[in-house]
Structure formats: C-alpha cells, structure tokens
Amino acid sequence: MSDARATILDSVRRALRRGPPPETLRAELDRRMAEPRPNVIPARGKGEPAELIERFAAMATEMSAIIERIPTAAAAPAAVARLLAESGLPPQVAAAPALSGLDWTGAGLSARFGAAGRGDAVSVVPAFRAVAETGTCIVRSGPDAPTTLNFLPDLHVVLVRTADVVGAYEDAWKALRKAGAWPRTVTWITGPSRTADIEQTLLLGAHGPRRLHVLLADGP
C-alpha cells in the first residue's frame, strides 16, 4: 500500500501544482493545529454559568431527554432507585466504574461496574462535560467509563455536575485537551436514539437507548 500512498500524495501535489510543502509552511500548518483559531461561537453558547445550566436543561429537554435536578451527585443512587421503581424495572444497574464511589447499596440498588452486556436494561455514566448550545452530554471512554454503557441498555442515565456545564463544544475540547491522554472515544449525546427511516415518522429508541435521563447535580 506504500505505493498507493506515494501515488495519492503525488497526485494531490500535482493537482495543487506544487511539490511537498516547504518546512516553513509545514511549521505554520502545524501551528494552526496546535493552536486552533477562535471559532464563530453562536451567542447561545455563551453566558453566565447559571444561564448556561438553564439553557442546557431546556435544549436537552427539547431533544427528548428527561432532566432531573438533584442537590448533589451523592443523591444520584436514590434518584436512580426512584426512577427504576416508577418505571417498574428491577433495582439493577450497570454503572461506569467512575461512579463506584457512590453508595448504590444504600439506595437499595444492585450495581455492577464495567462494560455493558446484552442483559443490561439500565446504565449510569458520568458526563465529562455538558454543552448548553444544543443540550448535549459529552462522554469519553476509559477504564472507568466503558463505551458500551452508552449504547446497549434501554434506559441511559447520565450524571452531569452543574460545574461541568459549558457553553460551546470548543469549551469541552479545551478541557479535554488538558485532561491528559486522548480517550479512544468521545461521544456527544443529544437525546435518546431515534430514527425516521420509515415514512419519515420520528420514533425514539432505534438501536441505542430508548430513554435518556439526565441527573443534573448541583454539588459533589
């Protein structure tokens, strides 16, 4: 395939009517990658923290997510237990290992920490950030946050700390670039899975979760 590589790059350069870029140009392009220029950020992606939290909740609701305000992250297990009881589901969850510090047993739940399997009906994961602009939760993968939890279960619970609500996608990128090793996956989640492939009829719950429940926690 190295042959193909050379041919394609040659062909691109012929089309651009030049040879390989000189070092000065390469340095300039690398700088553009290392220090992204400021983007056009929609006004709705800017504002005071309280305003952004309200906007995140409103936009996520519009995208068919359910928003539940809770006082602290520590109150998450009790909120999940209530949700399962109301939904007539057994008190079992598959949760991200990142949430193993919360008291699940105390809330009457049996929690398993790890990747999701076929039988898991409910998952609980933490959001890395939440974006006000479109009501989007950003999750990243890692040993403490397996990806499958976001897609296999029917009921997807995401824990968002209000301190992690940002205005625009770029704010999340900035935080993620600082957070160390780049994760295998970063997923922007905006509402529960859906399709309109049959007669343009919008239906929630395609191949991914049927419901997205966001727990918005004010404190730790």
Partner: protein
C-alpha cells in the same frame, strides 16, 4: 453498482407515474425542507458559520497532502493502521484482507456512501464475508437488494407496507401473519433482529463524516446508535473514508457539525456524534482491538486540480437533494447511481465518467435553490453548467441537440440574421395562434408542448420596440 444514468429520461417517466414514490417525495418536502428552514432561522450565526466552514475547507484542500500525512501520523501514534487506496478495487481488497486476517464471517456496517460508491457489500458477499447493514434504512434496502434513493434517508422511497413485506420475507421464526401495520412495531422487530448480529459480528465497518488531523480521530454522526454499536462491539473496526474528509482540528470539526445536522434533517445536532481514536487502550473494558482506516482517493485528487474542486467541500448533508425540484419529482433511483440530486449530478460524472452520466447535468432547471441551501457554498449550478459544456465538447449530446445549438450559435453571432429569423418566427407563431394567444402545438417542439401550451408572441420583439423609441 453499474450506473443506469443513460436511461434517466425513461427512469424519470416511470418515477413520475409511481404513486408510492410520489407520496414518499411529498413527505420528504414537508419534512426536511420545513425543518431545515426552522433550524436555520433559529441560529442567527448560520451565515457566519457557513463562511467559516467554507474557508476552513478551502484551506484544508489547499494543503491536503500535509493534513493527510498529519492525520496518518496520529492514527499510527494511537495504535491504528492507515491503508492508502487509489481506487475502489484497492479499498475492497484492503477491507477483505483485514476481514480474512480476523477470520471474520460477518461484518456489521454503519451507513457509508463510500461503501455504496465502491460496491463493497457485493464484493464481501462474493468473498465469503456477510455484510449486515445496521442503519434501519440501509437494512431495509439491503433486504430488498436495491440501492439507496437518498444519501441521508436511503429508504425514503418506500412505504410501511413495503417494509413489512421485506421483514416478513427476511425474518424467519416469527408468525407470518403478525401485525406489522405500525412503524413502531417494524422498528422494534428490526431492533431485536439486529441486537444478536451486533454482538456476533467479528468486524464492524463504518464510514466517516470527518477525519481530524490534530488527533487522528474519525467521526461518525448517527441518530440510531447503530454506528456506535458497529464500531464498539466487534474485535476489529474498519473506517472507510475518502481523502476529502479530513479537517485540521477538533474545533474545525465543531464548525462543520454546527451546519451538518441543521442542513440535513433540521436537527440542532444529530443524537450521537462519536470521535474514535485508535483501538482500545490497555486498561479499557470494551472497544475494538484493531482500528483500521481505509483512506481512499477514488477520483478525489483528480477533482482537486480542476474545475470541480469546490465539490470536495461537500459534507453530504443532502440539503441540495431535499430542495431540488427535479429530485422532488423523480426521486433518487432515476439518477441511476448512488449519488442523486444536484450533488450527484456533479459528482457522478467525475467518479464514473461523463460517457455514462452525460444526462445527469441536464436533469436540472438551474433554479439555484441547491446553491442557496448548501452549507458549504458549493456553486452547484455553475458546476452543472461546466459538465454540460464538457458533454457538448465531447460530442456526448444527441445529434439533433448539437445541430440546434450550432444553428442558434450561427444566428446569434450574426445580428442581422438573428433579427430576421426572430422577426419571421414571431410573425409565424402569431399566425399559428390565430388570435388565441397560445399554441398547443409547435413544429419541432413537440416535447415542450406535450405538457403545456406555449404563449404566442404578443407583438414586435424587444429590439424592434427599442428601435421605435419605446424606451421606458
């Protein structure tokens, strides 16, 4: 897929007489067009974002070699492999080699127009790997063994009854007389059928909406979640993407993503946007063990050097298709290849040759709506005109059309002759109309008057009036 674009006129006639298709096209107009307009109206920065997206894509294309090399370096650094492929044959061979090395019997697939373009499914099937389309629309058309009729909504031409028939035939072990009236029931059945296949697949194949040079990430945008299950569950993830998909940074991707869903379906953002970077890390609890990017040229570098470079900005949102009056009348299959509508009529001649597709650039009224709604400001009508010129120069137009154009050009470049002929024609047509003001039939223009009357000239032409001093 072998193009049938030469038969556009016959395809179009059949499409306009198909009541199921006409219903579907009416739904498309009422859906996508209205929702896009609402989403755009809600975002005051839309025009500014368009300008930014155009500039960043033009910048990337002008330095495409560097950004491709940077992307490759990052993929390798994070443990993935890049397979450079000049054409569809090389890409198919690369995908098959990866499947064979993994001992794969089935491969799940996310929606990929590039896979349609190179005919990947047929090839895999012939070589012992069963491809399973997982996007609901793609799954339905795979069962019916037909190509997509729209790049975003592949099964848009079908109604629920046709989907139910396909499911009854394909899904064994279920009561044949079960109730499949409601779309909800159809979806749930497909979801159930698909779950086992997601978990059993050895390889997952996805396309990419974007490639990011900064991080070596590939990006897919889906609503169903099928793409993520496809790329997360199997041991091997193959990304099939063409070289024009690369952008420099995550921030550049954000700009394009602000435009993509709004232009495509009128959503603020699609449900899932996933940035995949390399295979699973040593401590990860899930994710593929191998991450392959099949990086395909297939005619893009040739477009980069010519008149059609602007087309490489395309992000495949389908807005031009949704707003095209010709697509709205005939649907996608009439175009005879995988890319329909204005974007397809520009792209297909570049990818499969003008000989096969010379009719497509004519399948446009040049009304300009496509350019107006294109989030990447691609001058589609101008590009269609370029192809018309090429078709004329290369003698791909019918002899009668060539003769007509030659006569017109002869007369138009000789003002005295032009004036004499138009005066004569105007007089003749007035006589033919016999004072009714309209003509139901005109010699040599039967095709035009078959569906409408020609208004007869009402008096002396513009030039005569001008000379007589009627300058208002």
């Amino acid at each position: 897929m072998h193009p049938t674009s030469r038969r556009f006129a016959a395809n179009a006639r059949a499409a306009m007489a198909d009541p199921v298709l006409q219903d579907a096209l009416a739904r498309l107009k009422a859906g996508f067009r209205v929702k896009r307009a609402a989403a755009v109206a809600r975002l005051p920065e839309f025009e500014a974002l368009k300008a930014e997206a155009r500039a960043l894509k033009d910048h990337t294309l002008a330095h495409l070699d560097h950004y491709l090399e940077a992307f490759e370096a990052k993929v390798v650094e994070t443990g993935g492999t890049v397979h450079w492929c000049r054409d569809g044959a090389e890409a198919k061979a690369a995908v098959l080699a990866i499947c064979r090395a993994a001992g794969a019997r089935t491969a799940t697939k996310g929606k990929s127009m590039v896979a349609e373009e190179i005919g990947l499914n047929d090839f895999l099937e012939k070589n012992g790997v069963i491809p399973v389309e997982t996007d609901l629309g793609e799954y339905i058309i795979q069962l019916r063994r037909e190509p997509p009729s729209h790049i975003v909504a592949p099964a848009i031409h079908l109604n629920r009854g046709q989907v139910a028939d396909a499911f009854r035939t394909a899904h064994g072990g279920r009561p044949p007389d079960r109730d499949l009236e409601e779309p909800r029931v159809l979806l749930d059945e497909a979801r159930e059928e698909m779950r086992a296949r997601f978990l059993a697949a050895d390889v997952g194949i996805t396309g990419a909406n974007l490639l990011i040079a900064e991080t070596g990430s590939t990006v897919i945008v889906t609503n169903e979640g099928n793409g993520d299950l496809t790329q997360t569950l199997p041991r091997v993830h193959i990304v099939l993407a063409t070289i024009d998909k690369v952008v420099p940074t995550l921030d550049d991707a954000a700009t394009i993503l602000r435009l993509l869903a709004r232009s495509a379906t009128g959503q603020e953002l699609s449900v899932y946007t996933t940035f995949s970077t390399g295979p699973r890390r040593p401590d990860d609890l899930d994710g593929p063990e191998q991450f392959h990017v099949v990086l395909l040229d297939n005619g893009r570098s040739a477009m980069l050097g010519g008149q059609f470079r602007d087309m490489l900005r395309c992000i495949r949102c389908g807005a031009c298709i949704n707003h095209c009056p010709v697509y709205g009348a005939v649907g996608g299959h009439a175009y005879g290849w995988v890319y329909p509508g204005p974007m397809g009529s520009v792209l297909s001649p570049a990818l499969v040759g003008l000989e096969q597709t010379a009719k497509l650039p004519d399948a446009s009224t040049l009304c300009g709506r496509c350019e107006e709604v294109c989030p990447m400001s691609i001058p589609l009508p101008a590009l269609l005109r370029h192809w018309r010129e090429h078709a004329f120069e290369r003698h791909l137009k019918p002899a009668r059309e060539r003769l007509g154009l030659a006569l017109w050009s002869f007369a138009a470049s000789r003002p005295w002759l032009y004036r004499a002929v138009t005066r004569l024609a105007s007089w003749g047509l007035r006589r033919l109309a016999r004072g009714t003001g309209r003509l139901a039939r005109v010699p040599l223009a039967g095709g035009w008057t078959a569906a409408r009357d020609l208004p007869a000239p009402s008096g002396p032409g513009f030039l005569d009036q001008w000379r007589q001093g009627k300058r208002r």
